[in-house]
């Protein structure tokens, strides 16, 4: 313990009380530490200032760009309006044209189809009705034709040892091979097949969906 002018106990190593007069010592460390601290502080400040300045500059540039683009938008607004109007006109016209084309378009050559069908109808099959139509609401996209449905309703009996179901299978196969349909059959379903007890026949309903290709140049 230093006896003079010290209020608190100085911890010193055993047998080594320190009798230095600190104010008289040369000021070495504080200068270096202070210099270092100042240097670090200045570098930090300059760095932050630089970052801020850079951001402000970027902001200024972007603002200018925004203003310029705004001007461009204003300049082009009337021209754009005209173009939009023209485009709408075009779309209307296109839809009308499409409808007309569609209306005129034969999804398949009907007389040829009927002739093919008659020739390939297996023995034992009697057709009661042939329905042909576009399936509405199935095509979401107006640019794509919806599938075309051919529904054959009729009856079939056993003939020469072949069961009615085998005969209908044969009909289905032949349908897919028909020249007027070839390559375009999407589905070939037997939607109904039941025995008719009154007439002792099997009623059936066959649904054929066709993929109708869009003709180019229409």
């Amino acid at each position: 313990m230093r006896l003079k002018n010290r209020k608190k106990t100085d911890e010193h190593a055993p047998w080594r009380p320190d009798f230095r007069d600190s104010p008289r010592l040369p000021d070495t460390k504080p200068i270096r530490t202070g210099f270092l601290l100042n240097f670090v502080a200045i570098v930090l400040a300059v760095g932050l200032l630089g970052a801020y300045a850079f951001r402000e500059y970027a902001l200024y540039n972007i603002s200018n760009e925004v203003a310029y683009l705004g001007e461009q938008v204003e300049e082009n607004r009337s021209g754009n309006k005209e173009l939009v109007r023209l485009n709408q006109q075009f779309l209307r016209a296109r839809n009308i044209a499409r409808e007309a084309v569609r209306f005129d378009r034969e999804p398949l050559p009907v007389p040829r189809f009927l002739a093919n069908l008659a020739e390939s109808l297996p023995e034992g099959v009697v057709l009661d009705a042939i329905e042909m139509r576009f399936l509405p609401g199935e095509a979401a996209d107006k640019d794509v034709y919806p599938p075309f449905l051919i529904q054959l309703d009729g009856s079939v009996v056993e003939f020469e040892g072949s069961s009615p179901s085998r005969i209908l299978n044969l009909l289905q196969e032949r349908l897919e091979q028909l020249p007027s349909l070839q390559g375009r059959v999407l589905e070939n379903d037997l939607s109904q097949f039941n025995r008719n007890n009154e007439l002792d026949v099997f009623d059936f309903s066959l649904q054929v969906r066709l993929d109708v290709e869009e003709e180019s140049g229409s």
Partner: protein, 360 residues
């Protein structure tokens, strides 16, 4: 006083110094670290009369710039140094801020305003701390010196390029060192430690556990000069001084006459101790003696019928975590370097007395 030749310069790789400034020389130990474990690379002596040489030597290590320094732990030997043993009777009283100041003035006739002083435990060496129990700090060593001497030593060191990381009393450090040495050798024997400077001396009786006795002696090197002058029929005291410090004359025959007053004090104190404790003192050791005056220690040992303590340097330095490097060898360590070596160690703060209690 002839100038002591420097026989080793300080290596440029030196990380710091331990410096003892006594009446004759600056003793410098260049080290790899200011706390153990450390290696001593070189020991250099520069005469007190040639501080510019010290400045030059240090300049070679750190460069000539004025604001550059070599960090050092420094031990000094001011002539005005004082050491007193004091027993604390009441911890409460001792905690009072004026206690030690009054003690200095009333009991020791020392003006507290003119000195810088410290109170350390005579057993642990730790500073007196009012918050710690009385057990290890009942016996205190009050020590210090004149403020002006402390300032003069400090300024002088700074001018020479030494930045004092601490400014210690070499005597106190040597007491701690001797205690540490005795402990390291597991020696239970007390030692009579004597230090002598130009105008004053101190004697201490200590063991590995504590400092038991401490006495100032109004006797120094200058005290022998009139006797030398008279005995040898010299013209004046200056001639006597020249002869005394010259290491050309064998003063051993005159020894007991020259040292009569000192020997009287030594006999008185050691006798008192032996009667009080029933223990004889087998060893004596002298610090602060330059090699040329080693005969004084021999005379005292002979007259006191004691052995000059033979320090096992190798063993002791090892226990302190100090190794030797450069061109140094163990033979470079002797009594004249004890004070310097005593600065190296960081001695355990554990009270030996407390540890003894634990053992029992």
């Amino acid at each position: 006083m002839r100038s002591v030749q420097c026989f080793r310069m300080i290596s440029k790789k030196c990380k710091g110094l331990f410096v003892e400034v006594n009446g004759f020389s600056y003793q410098l130990a260049a080290v790899t670290s200011l706390s153990p474990p450390l290696t001593v690379e070189s020991i250099t002596e520069v005469s007190r009369q040639e501080p510019e040489k010290l400045r030059e030597m240090i300049g070679e290590v750190i460069g000539p710039a004025k604001n550059r320094f070599l960090r050092s732990h420094c031990g000094i030997v001011p002539e005005s140094r004082f050491f007193r043993l004091h027993t604390i009777e009441s911890l409460a009283k001792a905690k009072e801020p004026q206690y030690f100041l009054d003690l200095l003035e009333s009991q020791y006739r020392i003006n507290p305003k003119s000195v810088r002083a410290s109170a350390v435990s005579a057993s642990t060496g730790l500073g007196f701390d009012g918050t710690r129990p009385l057990a290890t700090q009942k016996e205190l060593m009050i020590c210090g010196a004149d403020i002006r001497e402390f300032e003069a030593f400090q300024d002088n060191l700074v001018e020479c390029g030494v930045y004092p990381a601490s400014l210690q009393l070499s005597t106190l450090s040597s007491l701690g060192a001797m205690k540490n040495y005795l402990r390291s050798q597991e020696s239970a024997d007390p030692v009579l430690l004597v230090e002598m400077t130009q105008n004053s001396s101190h004697l201490f009786i200590l063991s590995k556990d504590r400092i038991d006795l401490c006495r100032p002696v109004n006797f120094g090197f200058n005290s022998v000069l009139p006797t030398i002058q008279k005995e040898l029929g010299l013209q004046d005291e200056e001639s006597a001084r020249g002869l005394f410090f010259s290491d050309t004359f064998d003063f051993r025959e005159l020894g007991s006459k020259l040292l009569r007053r000192m020997l009287k004090e030594l006999h008185a104190s050691s006798g008192f101790y032996e009667v009080q404790t029933g223990q004889t003192i087998p060893h004596v050791y002298m610090t602060l003696l330059p090699r040329s005056l080693h005969w004084i220690a021999e005379v005292i040992a002979a007259e006191m019928e004691m052995n000059l303590l033979d320090i096992n340097w190798e063993n002791w330095l090892q226990t302190m975590g100090v190794s030797i490097g450069g061109d140094l060898s163990i033979g470079d360590f002797d009594a004249s370097r004890f004070g310097l070596a005593g600065l190296f160690g960081s001695f355990s703060g554990k009270s030996d007395a407390v540890e003894k209690q634990k053992e029992n």
